[in-house]
Amino acid sequence: MSQELCVITDEQIEVLLADLLENYGYDFTGYSKASIKRRILRLYSLDKQVSFAEFRYKINNDNFYFKRFVEQITVNVTEMFRDPGFFKTLRDVVLPNLGTYPFIRIWLAGCSTGEEAYSISIILKELNLLHKSLIYATDLNPVVLEKAAQSMFAMSQMKQYSENYILSGGTKDFSSYYTANYSLAKFSDELKSKIIFSTHNLVSDHSFNEFQLILCRNVLIYFDRDLQHKVLGLFDESLEGLGYLALGSKETLDFSPLSKNYKRIPAEKIWRKIS
């Protein structure tokens, strides 16, 4: 991608974000500016747009292009068992602790195409907890949720995912969880049976349940500080006492006034709600 001088100004970005809020109810105004601008410029050049006016018109009047726009400006890069050390702590500490509950409710916020939801499902199954668990996997973007619900991922990724799985403490044959179908690996229906995929917008939607574990990894990095505070408040509201909150490897609760009510699991970005 070459962007020598920016073809879209900051003011034009603001115009687009205001359009999205007014016409579609999507609020991106609390997103980190550098990141969202990069995403928009990337799409502008990818789709060989020639003028800002035309680009703006299309987003506001072509529903199909609007969907593409939302899909492309949000980051949907994810993988199974990313940061194996994190998943090892889930397996060894967090989930066994929650295993003493009669029922385990998990919220995976910003689940994108579902790789983490299936990873958690695999661990729950191996701990013999899947039957009494429910994973609410949400994302603001319906297109990625459709993909997530298909439980199919690129075969070419399986070697990497299998390595991650083993590093995260998995001891089974990873390939036993999927059937190979040409270039795709289809994960078993059993893994999907306890996942509910649903749209939820962290910016504008409210708490919808109480959970014992909330995971939201590599989503807050795209939000400015004010929006981060707001979303952490939403998580706090949605988390039971002694429940766990898991963030991405470069995200933290430290700057939040809520942190005094939480105790961190050493070396991991996992906090337990203690009051």
């Binding site: 991608m1 070459s2 962007q3 020598e4 001088l5 920016c6 900051d10 980190s32 500016k33 550098a34 990141s35 990069r38 995403r39 980051v75 890069v77 590599n218 807050l220 990095i221 795209y222 400015d224 500080r225 981060q228 991405g248 470069k250 995200e251 933290t252």
Partner: protein, 187 residues
Amino acid sequence: MEKCDALIIGGSAGSLDVLLKVLPGLDYTLSFPIIIVVHRKHGADSLLPELLSGKTGLIVKEIDEKEPILAGTIYVAPSDYHTLIEKDKSFSLDYSEKINYSRPAIDATFQTAAEVYQDKLVCLLLSGSNSDGVNGLISAKAWGGITAIQDPATAQVSYMPQQASIHAKIDYTLRIEDMAEFINLLS
């Protein structure tokens, strides 16, 4: 030379040795921040800042998201995220697609910094085996910044600075032993 508000150093294969040689020669009173973006394997985190820290009296730290960028500090981009520069001179991290097979991508940091710091930005591209950073140098130049590369003849892997010299306008071509003085004079 114009006053420098930020120096960004990008590098890939063969660049660590250069950093280890250059850092001991830096003044402890630099009036600008240094941001280091080097390709490395994911997982070997926190080792690089520690390693560099032993070579200088300046503060060396891995970047935290939303952290304000301060003068006299050496910031190291974390592995497996892109480091972006915000208008208010703070860092954003981004886990989007790899660029030039790289995350962090040098281009992402150079390009976002180019617009923020404009003619007060200095970008230095070191040894490396792909062309990450080249588009970023073109952006930096377009916004009035200063571009510099490691002299390809002194690079362990010359491809990256060479590509830069072909495709971007380069203001300074530096040998390793001249880099510390070049940086000190930016103050």
